[in-house]
């Protein structure tokens, strides 16, 4: 079934940046405002899924040559890694810490180790989401 999807393609070209930006924004706004790793990851993942639906698999794969299973695995590794990592600093398993740092140009910023943990969550969500949808979509 071939549908005339010029409108879809044109719209997606613009919208995709908005969605991606929203995803990144949601990811970083977590902890103090609504957002965080899970939602950020979901939004980013759905953006990728939208790309796959609009364009065909090969085109997207050429531009984003990731193995999304490995993306998910990296996410799990990050999440469990930060958990184990705290043991190396003599703190209990899964301890998180935060602090205010003065970074040139950006000014004083609040940095937390939770961000790394949340990045792991986000990557796992993106990887798993795309893996599932791709494997169902590719299945003949």
């Amino acid at each position: 079934m071939k549908i005339n999807d010029v409108i879809l393609r044109t719209v997606v070209k613009g919208v995709i940046f908005i969605i991606l930006t929203l995803g990144v924004y949601l990811f970083f706004s977590g902890h103090n405002a609504p957002g965080g790793g899970f939602i950020g990851g979901l939004v980013l993942g759905s953006a990728i899924v939208l790309l796959y639906i609009t364009y065909d698999l090969e085109t997207v794969h050429k531009k984003m040559p990731f193995d999304f299973k490995k993306v998910a695995a990296l996410g799990v590794l990050l999440a469990t890694g930060t958990a184990v990592g705290s043991i190396l600093f003599d703190a209990p398993f899964l301890s998180q810490t935060d602090g205010y740092f003065n970074i040139p140009i950006l000014g004083e910023k609040h940095l937390t180790t939770v961000t790394i943990f949340e990045a792991g969550v986000a990557l796992t969500v993106i990887g798993t989401l795309v893996t599932i949808i791709l494997s169902i979509g590719e299945d003949e």
Binding site: G30, P34, G35, F38, I39, V49, L94, T124
Partner: protein, 804 residues
């Protein structure tokens, strides 16, 4: 990090490194790099010998989950030192041997990774003081043994052998775990040393005997004692270095270690004495009896290992009587059985390791291990012949080899026990030396078989054609080191006794004041006494029986074929598989509706049942917030959508209606000021819809299910019950007062977790453990979907991996 902790950890780290840097490492050097680990560990451990011999012990505790009494406590004493020296010492020799034994085409990195995994796990078993940690390492040895037996996993027999050993040893392990938990219930601690120190407080407890039996089950399955020994011959499918290492020198000694370790706890019991001695003796006899009729060299060695393990086990049983008698100048003599057990433990590792390596050489150079096809190799392989002779004669108990010394001590112990009149030894005790003696004769017979059938006689023509030759030097080094030890121990046994065995005796008998008193002076010549006469009898009768072998071999046909232990095991496995399959098929019928019914019924029963049982359904309308008109509007939209969903005729309609429901819920989240939930719900809803759309091409048109009226009504009732449960609970939780509220804890999120959004601090800090595990589960589920879909595709191509 202290050194004893590092000893356990280093093999694991190395195993991980091998896998990570597999591509960078040259296969040629892999074995040599791995060899560094056991050799250096062995050297480190030898530095402990003089200190341990002085009576020192080393212990370190790393608190892991102190709230549950789970600590990583390492404990080095004489007993664990013996085992650890064997693990690293024999381990070094085996790895050196494997470098020459395994071809470069094998997946060597897997082999060495599993081997190191085993080494670390085994060191963990002998160094752990905490029962739970010991158990974890114990099962890890079973797992690594499984992986190593199935190393040539393209062969069906390897897979079957691996599965059998896993099934038997892990079932024993689970029963041992139950025994450990009982010990914890009785003593309130997982520390072996503390349990030993408080043994008189727990010995009257009603769980004491059950715990004893369960722990023995674990030890017997691991050490291949009758009737659990059947896994060991099948485990011989593993590469020969593995058999030499795991299945004769180390892993099968774990059960012996456990029995020795728990002798101070349970040794005073009559049940312990008779079970350990009895099972040991039966195993000793049955193993040697069956070894005689085998035609595969490795199978002979497997049964002989079973038999020798039985010997050591029975000695530990005999020695436990000293714990019952308590310390006095007269009772010390009975500890000699344990001394002989520990002595033979070391001797067995030396000569059996050498013999396995000898068989490996024969197999490697000639291409067969069948004694009916072998013969006359003496002139071709003189070095291998030397190894075989020394190893076999030591096993048969002949001088001047170490097996002679421990065998004599074994005979002495079985005779000496007759003087006692505890545990009703006086009535049946005479069987002990008798069985020991008969089994030793059979041992002598199969030792002659190993040497004669392989190396003497004429070379068979088909082997002559292959132009056989002596093994390369590299494969001979390890067995030669072992047979050198066999002879060296015979001439200097007291060195071993003084430095290695004495401290171990102190750990088996902690209540006895002096370890030196329990360490007898071992001498090869001790006059014409009963043990020497027994040995002479063994030699004479053994030669006679070997000569007459063809006349009495018929005895093996007496046993009915379908009542062998293996046949029974197969039957149990097949029956349980069939039964479980039929039970599973009864409820897993592939109908999604049925699965939903199971889920919903259990949901209603458990959740609503709990609420009813706790009398927690309470509804106080005055506490509720006022209901606005637009909220009512949303509710009505949802009600109509839900009803419409039930009657939808096409898939697209039902998906869209489902979407409407989902977005309405998101609206509710917005109204009730839960932006995080609303965001998540919106995105999840969109993704689900996309997923449905993708799935559509695989699904046919929506067909109404042809179901009877009764089914429809019962489904309707279940749906209404689920809905009612959810609604009522939703109304009741507001007034729920059974637990103290924990929200005050989260309100301090900014100070505690540095975040202003409570939801995020819950996810990332307070309940981060949940989130972490959820991430892992999500990943596993994703991989599951991926494999399910791709596995189906692979099957279509007709790929048959069976026996490739």
């Amino acid at each position: 990090m202290t050194i004893d902790f590092a000893i356990i950890l280093i093999p694991f780290i190395m195993a991980a490194l091998i896998l990570l840097f597999n591509k960078q490492l040259r296969k040629k050097y892999l074995g040599w790099i791995v060899l560094i680990i056991p050799v250096s560990l062995f050297l480190i451990l030898t530095t402990y010998i003089p200190r341990i011999a002085n009576g020192e012990t080393y212990t370190h505790t790393y608190e892991w989950i102190p709230a549950f009494n789970l600590n990583f406590t390492t404990y080095i004493d004489g007993l664990s030192l013996i085992l650890s020296l064997l693990i690293t010492g024999v381990g070094s020799l085996v790895i050196l041997y494997s470098i020459f034994y395994l071809s470069m085409k094998e997946s060597l990195h897997h082999f060495y990774c599993y081997l190191l995994l085993f080494m670390g796990a085994m060191l963990g078993v002998v160094f752990s003081d905490n029962l739970m940690v010991l158990y974890a390492f114990w099962e890890l040895t079973s797992v690594s043994s499984f992986l190593l037996i199935a190393f040539w996993h393209h062969r069906k027999a390897s897979r079957a052998g691996a599965r059998k050993s896993m099934t038997i040893t892990v079932s024993g392990g689970v029963s041992m775990l139950t025994g450990f938990l009982m010990l914890y219930v009785m003593s309130g601690t997982f520390s072996i040393r503390e349990i030993i120190a408080n043994v008189e407080k727990i010995s009257e407890h009603s769980l004491f005997i059950p715990a004893l039996i369960l722990i023995l089950l674990g030890a017997f399955t691991k050490s291949a004692q009758f009737p659990f020994h059947i896994w060991l011959p099948d485990a011989m499918e593993a590469p020969t270095p593995v058999s030499a290492y795991l299945h004769s020198a180390t892993m099968v000694k774990a059960g012996i270690y456990l029995v020795a370790r728990f002798t101070p706890v349970f040794g005073g019991e009559m049940v312990w004495f008779w079970t350990v001695t009895g099972v040991g003796l039966i195993t000793l006899f049955w193993g040697s009896f069956n070894a005689v009729r085998q035609t595969d060299l490795k199978a002979i060695l497997a049964f002989s290992t079973v038999s020798q393990l039985g010997l050591i086990m029975s000695l530990l049983g005999l020695g436990s009587v000293a714990v019952h008698l308590g310390y006095s100048a007269d009772t010390v003599i009975y500890t000699q059985a344990t001394f002989a057990a520990l002595f033979h433990l070391i001797n067995h590792s030396t000569f059996k390791g050498a013999l396995f390596m000898m068989v490996g050489i024969v197999d490697h150079e000639i291409g067969t291990r069948d004694i009916r096809r072998l013969g006359g190799l003496m002139s071709i392989m003189p070095f291998t012949f030397t190894i075989a002779v020394i190893g076999s004669f030591s096993m048969a108990g002949l001088p001047p080899f170490n097996g002679f010394l421990s065998k004599e001590m074994f005979f002495a112990a079985t005779v000496k026990i007759l003087q006692l009149d505890v545990f009703s030894i006086e009535s049946t005790g005479i069987l002990i030396p008798l069985i020991a003696w008969v089994a030793s004769i059979l041992t002598f017979v199969y030792c002659i078989i190993i040497v004669n059938r392989t190396f003497l006689g004429k070379i068979k023509p088909d082997i002559q054609e292959k132009n056989p030759h002596e093994a390369p030097l590299g494969m001979l080094i390890s067995p030669f080191i072992l047979i050198t030890l066999v002879i060296a121990i015979f001439f200097f046994p007291n060195l071993l006794g003084e430095y290695i065995l004495k401290p171990a005796m102190a750990s088996v008998y902690p209540t006895f004041p002096s370890a030196a008193e329990m360490t007898p002076h071992i001498s090869a010549w001790h006059g014409f006494n009963i043990e020497l006469l027994m040995t002479i009898g063994v030699i004479v009768l053994g030669i006679v029986l070997y000569r007459l072998l063809k006349y009495w071999k018929k005895i093996y046909r007496i046993f009915p074929q379908n009542w062998t232990l293996n046949a029974i095991y197969e039957r149990v496995i097949t029956t349980s598989e069939n039964v479980s399959e039929s039970i599973t098929n009864r409820y897993m019928n592939g109908k999604l509706t049925h699965y939903f019914i199971y889920i919903y019924i259990s949901f209603v029963v458990i959740v609503a049942g709990t609420f009813v049982a706790l009398d927690a359904f309470s509804w106080n309308p005055r506490l509720d917030a006022p209901v606005e008109t637009y909220e009512l509007l949303l509710v009505f939209i949802m009600i109509f959508t839900a009803i419409g969903l039930v009657f939808a005729k096409s898939r697209i309609t039902s998906v869209l209606l489902n979407g409407v429901l989902g977005y309405s819920v998101a609206f509710f989240f917005v109204i009730f000021r839960a932006p995080d939930l609303a965001l998540t719900q919106l995105v999840v809803e969109s993704v689900t819809t996309a997923l449905f759309l993708i799935c559509f091409k695989h699904l046919g048109a929506l067909k109404p299910e042809p179901s009877s009226k009764r089914v429809k009504v019962s489904n309707g009732v279940i749906s209404i019950l689920v809905g009612a449960t959810v609604t009522l609970i939703g109304l009741a939780v507001v007034n729920y007062e059974k637990f103290e509220t924990i929200s005050t804890y989260f309100e301090n999120s900014y100070e505690l977790a540095g975040g202003k959004n409570i939801v995020n601090t819950i996810l990332g800090d307070f309940r981060a453990f949940d989130t972490m595990l959820e991430v892992v589960v999500l990943f596993i589920a994703g991989l599951g979907v991926y494999t399910l879909i791709n596995l189906k595709a692979a099957k279509k191509e007709g790929a048959d991996i069976e026996n490739k």
